[in-house]
C-alpha cells in the first residue's frame, strides 16, 4: 500500500486521487505504524518549511520516515516534501531531515525582474548520463522501471515555490529546470525520489510519473 503522510499540511486528497486515477490505491494517514508498514511512502507539503518540520515532530513522524527510508522501499517527496529532506533551509534558518546533504535556498531575482513564487508550467531537462550516479541513472531515467519512463525531455510540469534545493552531491540531480537559474527539479538518491513540481497537478504527464512510481 502507498502511504501519503498526513501531518496537517496541504491538500493530500489531490495526491491520493491522482494515484487512484492511475489505478493505485493510496492511504492518507498520520499513524506512524502505517508509515512503517507501507510499501511506498509519499511526503507532500505546502506552506512554510519550519511549520512543516514542527508538524512532523508533533505527529511523531520523523523517526518513522527515517526508518522507512532505511528499508530501501521507494519514497517520494513532493515540493516542500522534497525540500524537507535536505540539511537546512534559508526559510527561517531551520534544520531539515538531512537525508540528502544540501541547502534549500530562496529565489532572489530582485534585479532580474522575474516573479517569485515561480508559479506555473515549466519544463524539465533530464541530466546528462555522465553527471548522474549510475544507480540513479537507471532508476530515474533509463531503467525498465524508471520514474521518468514515457516522459520526454522538455516535458512541462506545474510548479509553485519560492525556494529550491541545492544538493552538495550534484550526481543526485536527475533533472533540472530553468528559472533565472538552473535548479534541481527532480532529485534521486538510492530509494528516494523528489520532485520540486506537483505531479498531481500536472495533468497527463504528472499522472504518468505517479503511475511509474506506483509500479516501482
Amino acid at each position: 500500500m502507498i502511504v501519503i503522510v498526513d501531518y496537517g499540511m496541504g491538500n493530500l486528497r489531490s495526491v491520493q486521487k491522482a494515484f487512484q486515477k492511475v489505478g493505485q490505491e493510496a492511504l492518507i494517514t498520520s499513524d506512524p505504524d502505517k508509515v512503517l508498514q507501507a510499501s511506498k511512502v509519499v511526503l507532500p507539503g505546502v506552506g512554510a518549511f519550519g511549520k512543516c518540520i514542527a508538524n512532523l515532530k508533533e505527529h511523531h513522524l520523523i523517526d518513522p520516515i527515517y526508518r522507512f527510508i532505511e528499508t530501501g522501499k521507494p519514497f517520494l517527496g513532493i515540493c516542500l516534501g522534497l525540500q524537507l529532506l535536505f540539511t537546512e533551509s534559508e526559510e527561517g534558518g531551520v534544520t531539515g531531515l538531512n537525508i540528502i546533504k544540501g541547502r534549500v535556498k530562496r529565489f532572489d531575482f530582485s534585479n532580474k525582474g522575474l516573479k517569485v513564487p515561480h508559479m506555473g508550467w515549466n519544463q524539465i531537462k533530464k541530466s546528462p548520463k555522465s553527471e548522474v550516479h549510475p544507480s540513479n541513472w537507471q532508476r530515474q531515467l533509463d531503467g525498465p522501471k524508471s520514474v521518468l519512463k514515457g516522459i520526454p525531455d522538455g516535458s512541462y510540469f506545474y510548479f509553485v515555490h519560492s525556494y529550491y534545493v541545492e544538493p552538495d552531491d550534484k550526481s543526485v540531480i536527475t533533472a533540472t529546470t530553468e528559472y533565472g537559474l538552473e535548479f534541481a527539479s527532480i532529485v534521486s538518491k538510492d530509494n528516494i525520489y523528489g520532485t520540486q513540481f506537483h505531479p498531481e497537478k500536472s495533468q497527463e504527464l504528472g499522472l504518468r510519473m505517479l503511475k511509474n512510481f506506483g509500479e516501482l
Binding site: V46, K115, M119, G120, N122, Y156, Q203
Partner: protein, 274 residues
Amino acid sequence: MLAKRIIPCLDVDEGKVVKGVKFVNLRDAGDPAEIGAIYDKEKADELVFLDITASLEKRDIIIEVVRRTAEKIFMPLTVGGGIRDLEDIRKLLKVGADKVSINTAAVKNPSLVTEAAKKFGSQCIVVAIDAKRIVTPLPRPPVTRLKTGKLANRRTGKPKWEVYINGGRTPTGWDVLEWAKRVDKLGAGEILLTSMDCDGTKKGYDLELTRKISEAVSIPVIASGGAGNLEHLYQALTEGKADAVLAASIFHFREYSIREAKEYLKKKGVAVRL
C-alpha cells in the same frame, strides 16, 4: 522556460455555471465539474471558479461543487467570490481548491491576506483587484469647447485606477497601484487584476493597467477583463507583461479552443505549453 498560463474562468451561481457555455458532448451544460473536466482534457493551465451566489445561506453550495470538480481535474483550481475569513478559505482548500481568490475581504481587512498566507502558504492566496480607470481632469485650463461642439479631451496627465469592491459596486477611493504593491508586501502569492472598463467589452485587456501593475509588483499578475480574440491574449502577455491571462466567453462559446489559443501564441513567439 516558464510558460504563460491560459486560464478559463467560470461564473458559478448556486452551483451552476451562468452566462452560458456552449460545449458539445455535455450531459449537463451548467455543471461546473463537467466543464472543468473538459478544460482539463484540453490542457488549460489552470481553472478559476468565481462564485457569484448572492445569498449567504447558499454560499456553501460552492463547497460541494469544488469537491466534485477537484475529483475530476488534475490542474490547479482557484475559487473566488464571497470569501470572508480564514474559515471560508480552510473549507475551500479542504475540499480540493488549490488557491482562493480574495477581493472585498482583503480590502476591508488587509491583515487577512497576511494571516491566510502564514496559515496556508502564499502560493494559495490570490488577491483579486477590480480596477476602474479614473479620468483626471486638468486643473486648468477649464474644459474648452471645440469648434465641432464636442468637449476637448479632459483625460490628461498620468492615468489612475480606483479599487472597487462588492463585485464592482462600491468604490473605495484606493489607488490600484498602491493597493497592488501593498498586497505584494502583505504576502499574497498572486494578483488577479480585472479591468472593469474592459470587462465584457471583448475589445481587449487594459494593457496600460496590466503593465503598470505587473511591473510594480514581484508576484505574478493574471490579466482579466476584455478578451475578445486571440490577439488580445497576445497583447496582454507581451505589451501588458502579464504572467497569465484569464478569459471566459471566448472559450465557453467555442470561439476558440484552448489549443487554438496556445498555438496562436506559440506561433507569435510566446512560451506556452501545448
